[in-house]
Amino acid sequence: MRVDKNAGSRIGVFWRRYDIALVGSAVFIFILLITILASAVAPYDPMARNIKNRFAGPSAENAFGTDQLGRDVLSRVIHGGRPILSASFAAVFCALAAGTIIGVSGGYLGGWLDTALMRLMDVMLSFPSILLAILIVATLGLGLFNVTVAIGFSMVPVFARLARSIVITLVYEEYVVAARSLGASDPHIVWKHILPNMMPPIIVQASAMLAVAIGTASALNFIGLGVEPGTPDWGMMVAEGQRLIFDAPHVPLFPGLVITITVLSVNYMGDGLRDHLDPKLRRQEI
């Protein structure tokens, strides 16, 4: 009896601390599942046109209505997660990895390397990121991979600068100074003391940058430089549907809603993860 009660209360505490993070994770897993199983779940072929039935509002046949070419919006929403999600995740992940490496090596080693790397980041940052992405896509051509490259590339300096700004404060923390005076090697210090302590802010930044990546992908579509035409893609659907906002609001509204829910769930998941990872925060009851 006692054991059960205890376990129950522990789950209760865990739930209370991470409730919204857990809800977020559940929603996100659900969206991922739908996206992966799209072909099995979608009621119609996302590319099937029906010119006679354009701009139909939501109904029993088409739960989310039909678009400008009479395609089923629900089926397109179900299929439309894969391109934008894979591009955004890949872009953020690559930018995070590259940026952290650059920022940590610069901030930790200092000297001319730091200066050179940071000036390089300055050069990249002084290109407005959206213009940089536009230039890259205009050069490489439309398509998912090129959009990923463009978004990822433009985000590297953000992570690099963040990583560096954390590292240069961590270097003076007592435990790092202590470790160094005890003769610990640089890789050891970075791996054991620096990285774990910089993860929480980096994770927060990454989940925020994911939102930005999804926003940038939509923006590229809005300018007409996104995924291949016809591809069901949330960003593209919102961007192309924006001109229909007065006349057939359901066309841009549903994909927009799904983008929002996805980003929210990812961010709550990220926050929960951060809280869980950060030893300092775990002690603090909010």
């Binding site: 407005p128 050069t139 929480p200 939102a211 939509s218 841009p252 926050d271 909010i286």
Partner: protein, 336 residues
């Protein structure tokens, strides 16, 4: 301090050189050139070769590059290929509106962001905390063109509180001195135009501001949480300092660093990167100008415009770094 500033300033020309060279190169790699984009407008095609020669597009790239650099050194940004207007004149037309937009959006985002970030930590109410977090993520994730058009529909079409677009009302009369309307209109005492100007800034300013308000709120929140759990705050509390004083004096001071970095970067990125917002609100700034330049392959517009954006960005960055050093004494040693 002064030494550090000088050291950074030495880098300025090098960064600018790198940025302009990269721009030059990137434009030559992007398919299409200015001649091809105007070809369709001209009936007498024999004139096109002549135009190509005028712009030196028939020369080898290396020669074009040296030519571009030597002109740049002399401060000559040339004429826009598509419109024949001197680039310096266009900078005068396009830079001030964007700087004004950037300032307004920074005020909006800092105000909303810091207040909601602090509120979510200090007012220990989970519901409020979640609301702030949700709102801040929404601000980040919603596509700008989407937020923009929604604000227009709500405030301009339905409520008719604000105009849909532009920098000032259609046909409003005013004098241009510096092209910073904030100054010009106040200096000339033109109240009517000033009111119109402010009303036009509200929606685009809020649109950009909301996106970074999310960032600021999150940074404030996490920085404060971290600081509040750190030893010296607990010490401060233990010493019996007032809660409010603790928050503002200690926690905010530490939260300031990342916020300043973020807002500095944000300011830089708005200068050339408010492409979407400027487009939705038909705002005549750098973003739309550069976007059109890229799409029309107007080499001189993009080259000239990016240099100015980069210059503003680097200077802003320097300012941020200097502020850093003033706020966080620990870093003073690092720079020496």
């Amino acid at each position: 301090m002064i030494g550090y500033t000088l050291k950074r300033l030495i880098w300025l020309p090098i960064v600018l050189w790198a940025v302009s060279s990269l721009t030059f190169l990137a434009l030559r790699i992007v398919p299409g050139n200015p001649i091809q984009t105007i070809q369709n407008q001209v009936m007498d095609k024999s004139q096109l070769a002549q135009v190509e020669a005028v712009w030196g597009l028939d020369r080898p790239i290396a020669e074009q590059y040296l030519n571009f650099l030597s002109k740049l050194l002399r401060g000559d940004l040339g004429l826009a290929m598509s419109s024949g207007v001197p680039i310096r004149r266009m900078i005068f037309e396009r830079m001030p509106p964007t700087i004004e937009l950037a300032i307004v959006s920074l005020i909006v985002s800092t105000g909303i962001g810091v207040l909601s970030g602090v509120a979510s930590v200090t007012i220990r109410n989970r519901a409020l905390d979640y609301c702030v977090r949700t709102a801040s993520i929404l601000g980040l994730s919603l596509p700008l063109f989407w937020v923009g058009i929604m604000l227009i529909i709500l405030f301009s079409v339905n409520l008719r509180w604000t105009p849909t677009s532009g920098r000032i009302g259609a046909g409003v009369d005013y004098d241009v001195i510096t092209n910073f309307m904030f100054y010009d209109l106040l200096a000339t005492g033109n109240c009517e135009a000033f009111g119109s100007f402010l009303r036009h800034l509200v929606l685009p300013g809020v649109t950009i501001g909301l996106t970074s308000a999310g960032f600021v709120a999150r940074l404030t929140r996490s920085a404060m949480l971290e600081v509040m759990s750190s030893d010296y705050i607990r010490t401060a509390r233990a010493k019996g300092l007032y809660e409010r004083k603790v928050i503002w004096r200690h926690a905010m001071r530490n939260a300031l660093l990342p916020i300043i970095t973020l807002q500095g970067l944000q300011f830089g990125s708005i200068l050339g990167g408010a492409v979407i917002t400027e487009r939705v609100f038909s705002y005549p700034g750098m973003g739309t100008w550069l976007l059109d330049g890229i799409l029309e392959r107007d080499y001189s517009v993009v080259q000239g415009g990016i240099i100015f954006v980069a210059l503003a960005y680097v200077l802003m960055n320097l300012l941020v770094d200097l502020l850093y050093h003033i706020i966080d004494p620990r870093l003073r040693h690092a720079s020496q």
